[in-house]
């Protein structure tokens, strides 16, 4: 067994880095490029029931230490996504199908489609901060989350992950609801609801006004969320938020993340960020003689 191999709720990854949802993964070809770049797993862009254009531009604001984006969940819809999955599978890396819907029934339907297409797990987008009627609007209510997770669990045999929002004081409650409903892992965090204003034009920059903050700016928030969830839950936690280096990844792992997802760093550092992180982790595990990366999950709690 390689020192970086991890098992997340039964999904075996050659290394703990995953492509985060929303970045690049809308097409089979772009998912393949991330597989070739060395990611241990690929999370697709969130796919819904129907084709969706997303918001008009501007959809992205670049900041010194992150991005604010409001893409608006663009995507080809679940039917057209079949061909993208067929292409993406040639990367020989587990694919996790991210999905969004406005009802538990649709979530379940999308889940079973993703299973049919060959996804190794599904990730429920319960956390997009800027799409009306979707994402976070549902993901801050433990009862709604519980109903969605249950319905999906009843529809598929692959693991069900729930991606959570940090935009709530009830994060741990929502995490517990996922676990109690039979969810196999939680993913934390999605972006923080945010905005940017042009002083010259005296107006919000994003066409949707509000978006989600990602990148290094959110890392301390993500770490705290992962730390809290790890302490409260038995199921694995997947960490995401501002990871750009192997040290960032280790912080998340030590906080309790079984694997980490990388998104904004692809824009800020380039697609080589996956191999940079895994090389760094490999060297750390070797020098530390800790055997393997799985042994480091949650070690920071020993001092908590």
């Amino acid at each position: 067994m390689s020192s970086l191999q991890v098992d997340v709720a039964g999904v075996r990854l050659k290394n703990p880095t995953m492509l985060a949802s929303g970045m690049v993964g809308e097409t089979g070809g772009s998912l393949l490029s991330v597989a070739a770049a060395g990611a241990g797993a690929l999370v697709t862009k969130s796919i819904g029931m129907e084709p969706r254009n997303g918001y008009g531009n501007p959809t992205l604001v670049e900041l010194e230490d992150g991005y604010v984006n409001a893409m608006g969940l663009p995507g080809p819809g679940i039917d057209d996504f079949r061909t993208e999955m067929e292409v993406a599978k040639n990367g020989n890396v587990p694919i996790i199908g991210s999905i969004f819907a406005s009802s538990a029934k649709d979530f379940a339907l999308l889940s079973s489609k993703m299973e049919e297409y060959g996804a190794s797990a599904v990730e429920l987008n319960l956390s997009c901060p800027h799409a009306h009627g979707y994402g976070m609007e549902m993901g801050i209510d433990p009862e709604v989350v519980s109903a969605i997770v249950k319905e999906c669990k009843d529809s598929v045999s692959i693991p069900v992950f729930a991606k959570l929002t940090p935009n709530t004081h009830r994060l741990v409650e929502v995490g517990r609801a996922v676990e109690k409903a039979g969810g196999d892992a939680v993913v934390a965090i999605n972006t923080l609801k945010a905005m940017a204003i042009s002083v010259e034009f005296r107006r919000p920059v994003l066409s949707n006004r509000f978006g989600g903050l990602s990148g290094p700016a959110v890392k301390p928030v993500g770490l705290r969320c992962v730390f809290d969830l790890y302490a409260a839950l038995e199921i694995p936690v997947i960490g995401v938020g501002g990871i750009e280096t192997w040290r960032d990844a280790l912080e998340y792992i030590m906080a309790g993340a079984s694997a980490v997802q990388i998104g904004s760093a692809i824009g800020r550092r380039g697609i080589g960020v996956f191999s940079e992180i895994t090389t760094g982790l490999e060297r750390y595990v070797e020098q530390d003689r800790c055997g393997n990366i799985q042994g480091l999950v949650g070690v920071a709690h020993e001092h908590a």
Binding site: V24, G29, K45, N57, P58, Y67, P74, F201, G263
Partner: protein
């Protein structure tokens, strides 16, 4: 974050085509593009048509955003971010620049950057004489500028690809730089392969973020915004979608 710039000059350079100039103090390489924000309208990618000194973009009125850009006059303000992407590499040797329609906007800075009128030839194609762009500017940077129009109103009657075929029969080139409609590039590529000439092609896809994140400009395994927009002929040759499919705003594959 965008930088707000003031339009210093707006000039008609062809039928329904205008060049806007502004001060933007960042290094810009030929073939790169900006994301141009018109508050309340849209934000769109635009190739840099001037990379040195006062920067510029050249806009054809084809939709709401480009119409609004064409209506801008000196003193109006827009938001700019970038430059983004990977431009042309300016090799040694004899170079032929091939521009179709507004494709000339991205090419001219490369022709000028070569800086030797005897080392670079230019082929400009358009549907008719009123759409031929930047002939004078090309003539200032190249000793051999030729044109083609679909209707024969100027230069060779035919396509830019026909024109290039004619030029290749008379001259030997080490590299071809090309920008224009994808169908033009698609038919140019086999011609250049037949003559064993390397090339760099500037490609276009629907684009949202411009910065390599959202994946809406995916072209096979490449992102046009960071891996392109300029690709080598070898790269284009291996692309399944090149010349055949584009993607719409929802990421669905559409036949070109």
């Amino acid at each position: 974050m965008h930088e707000t710039v003031e339009i210093l000059q707006s000039e008609e350079v062809g039928k329904g085509v205008r060049t806007l100039r502004f001060e933007y103090h960042h290094k810009v390489s030929p073939g790169q593009f900006f994301m141009v924000w018109l508050p309340g309208v849209d934000e769109i990618p635009m190739s840099a048509s001037y990379c040195e000194g006062r920067k510029g973009i050249t806009v054809k009125d084809v939709g709401p955003a480009t119409r609004s850009l064409c209506n801008l006059r000196s003193g109006d303000r827009i938001g700019i971010r970038g430059p983004y992407g990977h431009g042309y590499t300016l090799h040694d040797g004899r170079i032929l620049a091939v521009g179709g329609g507004t494709g000339m906007a991205s090419l001219l800075p490369a022709v000028e950057a070569i800086g030797d009128p005897s080392r670079v030839d230019v082929a400009i194609g358009a549907r008719n004489v009123s759409e031929l762009l930047f002939i004078d500017r090309a003539k200032a940077a190249s000793k051999n500028v030729r044109t083609s129009t679909d209707d024969g109103t100027n230069g060779l009657k035919g396509t830019a690809v026909d024109l290039v075929a004619d030029m290749l029969s008379k001259e030997r080139y080490d590299l071809v730089l090309a920008c224009g409609p994808e169908k033009m590039l698609f038919y140019l590529l086999p011609l250049l392969r037949k003559h064993n000439v390397r090339c760099e092609l500037s490609l276009e896809r629907y684009m949202k973020c411009g910065a390599g994140l959202c994946g809406s400009c995916a072209l096979d395994e490449k992102r046009v915004c960071v891996d392109g927009p300029v690709f080598t002929g070898e790269q284009a040759q291996t692309m399944i979608d090149f010349g055949k499919f584009r993607r719409n705003e929802a990421g669905q594959q559409i036949k070109l």
